[in-house]
Amino acid sequence: MSTKKNKTSPDSVLSLFHVSKDYQLGDETLRVLDDVSLEIKSGELVAIIGPSGSGKSTLMHIMGLLDRQSKGTVTLAGRDVSDLSEAEAARLRNHYVGFIFQQFNLLPRTSSVENVLLPTIYNGGDAKLLQQKAIKILSELGLDQRLGNYPNQLSGGQQQRVAIARALINDPAVIFADEPTGNLDSKSGHEVVEILKNLNKQGRTIVIVTHDPELAKMAHRIIHIFDGRIKSDKRKKL
């Protein structure tokens, strides 16, 4: 465990200091992440790219508090989250993190609005206000005619938009999108890319994880992961 003082800049949302992740496979120890340090700042649109097996998913899981690092320190919204209980991690995910998945992961036989409201049942709040908020977000994403539809009545692009609305409902500090266009045709994929760009313009912090260099081009900053290490971390000039 690193004992040195970790410095984060004031606009930092998420930072990793010398984070490593090991998996035990029988007698062998497999190092999936090796001494990764990075900082995501508020309002950034970051793409993490790398081939499969490079450790980018593990990196995203650790940043999203779905997994815990073996070594190093993680801070989220200025708070050290390296050593949380499962319940505490769940509460922080609920408040600070939004997820968009390749498989959409909507609940079947559940309306768009109720799918969007799913994260709110774990933190309470005024049901009426939340419902209005869910409808507003869905409408902004062009789904005002699909509020009561079940996922199987929606196209892939529409389903992913419902999933984006779900990631937004709790106003998270950071949104992770794991291959968000991976299951979509190019037209729907393009729509999703535009939505993510727009959200970033509105000030949302977004981290996209992909193996597709084309998708990564939309980001202002591209972090290239290879063999569990950061190979490059480049910012585009705006």
Partner: protein, 404 residues
């Protein structure tokens, strides 16, 4: 965590698999139904026996011939059967008991027998109770028509009879039997009264409503009855029962050997029967409870299926902020809803079944067994739901999201 929302989530997923939920619930329904039906039978028997004892009259001691009660305190049926035919009790003993006075109130000797009864409408065989007028006070026997026989009827050997309500219905239907004749074993008697019905149904034991009461003296002279079957003695109150027993024993011992008679107190008999019946009820409920356990296993099985079917959903919920206890509560509520739903349906069917059974059997639903059945079905849901729910709560969100 919003409890109402999680409860609604559980009911949505139960309704999603209607057939499966119905079949799962059925196990608990059958378990609860059988617990309620079987305890109703046990309970009904107890109530029935208690009612039968109440109709016998209160603070009653029964002096029977021979050693009906063995020295160890148990009932001795062989001796009981033998002693009826070799009864050494006599009318002299009756007078001895009558002379004791306090704490004894009334003394009534009974000779039991059977006979064939004839009227103009037909014939019927039944049970004869030859006794004295004290019997009617002792056993609370009232007449709906006419009167019970008097001391004068007894002392002058009058051929008069008080008939049971069923005999009046069968042999004198549509007529007033009082004032008419009845032939008992070819001897003609005048009917002077009709006894009030004692029990609504008959379940075991002699049917007292089909009996005929005769003066003891007449039965001896006209019908040749002689062995006294028992002497009924009423004590002034409950506290004096033991003293009464003692006085009777001392008085009878002057003429009889201790093995020639025994004195039983109806509360002892009642207690013994109640003990037997409550053991029986518990035993029946225990057997029925086995099916409830099987129902619980059914719930556990289906909940395990639900957990593995919904692994991705669990992973998603966790990723979106559900804590392990949120997930656990969600699945526990689901199993508890299934089991209590089954419990409630079982209770409704059990109570309906009990009332249906009542036409043939004195079954009475017991409130405590209904509450117990509900509690047990709830507990079944919790106990058999905990394992699947913990399994769900322990899932790793990453693995669960990747699960195909």
């Amino acid at each position: 965590m919003n409890f109402a929302v999680i409860a609604r989530t559980a009911s949505v997923s139960i309704l999603r698999n209607k057939m499966r939920s119905v079949l799962t619930t059925l196990g608990v329904v059958i378990g609860v139904l059988s617990v309620i039906l079987l305890t109703s039978i046990g309970n009904g028997l107890t109530v029935f026996v208690e009612d039968q004892f109440k109709t016998l009259g209160s603070n009653l001691l029964i002096v029977s011939p021979g050693e009906i009660v063995s020295e160890e305190g148990g009932f001795n049926p062989d001796a009981a059967a033998l002693s009826l035919s070799t009864s050494k009790l006599s009318l002299a003993d009756v007078s001895t008991l009558e002379r004791i006075g306090y704490p004894l109130k009334d003394v009534a000797p009974v000779i039991e027998g059977s006979g064939e009864f004839r009227s103009d409408q037909g014939k019927r065989s039944g049970f004869i109770m030859a006794t004295t007028p004290a019997y009617s006070t002792l056993r609370n026997t009232k007449t709906t028509k006419g009167r019970f026989f008097s001391e004068a009827d007894v002392s002058s050997n009058r051929k008069v009879a008080v008939i049971g309500s069923k005999i009046a219905d069968k042999l004198y239907s549509g007529e007033n039997p009082v004032g008419q004749k009845i032939t008992i074993n070819r001897i003609r008697f005048d009917i002077i009264g009709v006894a009030e019905p004692k029990s609504s149904g008959s379940f075991g034991g002699p049917d007292i409503d089909s009996a005929i009461y005769l003066p003891i003296t007449t039965a001896r002279t006209a019908l040749g009855f002689d062995k006294i079957s028992m002497i009924l003695v009423q004590v002034v109150d409950e506290q004096e029962i033991d003293r009464g027993k003692e006085k009777i024993a001392v008085a009878l011992a002057k003429r009889l050997n201790p093995e020639d008679f025994s004195i039983t107190d109806q509360s002892e008999i009642l207690e013994t029967i109640q003990t037997i019946l409550s053991t029986l009820t518990v035993g029946l409920a225990g057997i029925a409870a086995i099916s409830l356990v099987v129902g619980g296993i059914g719930i556990m099985n289906i909940m395990l299926v639900a957990v593995s079917e919904r692994t991705r959903e669990i992973g998603l919920r966790k990723a979106l902020g559900a804590t392990p206890s949120n997930i656990m509560v969600q699945f526990l509520i689901e199993s508890v809803v299934l089991s209590t739903l089954g419990g409630m349906i079982g209770i409704i069917l059990g109570v309906l079944g009990t009332f249906a059974m009542r036409r043939f059997f004195p079954a009475t639903p017991a409130l405590n067994s209904i509450l117990l059945a509900f509690g047990v079905s709830l507990a079944t849901g919790v106990i058999f739901g905990v394992f699947p729910a913990r399994k769900a709560a322990a899932l790793n969100p990453i693995d669960a999201l990747r699960y195909e």
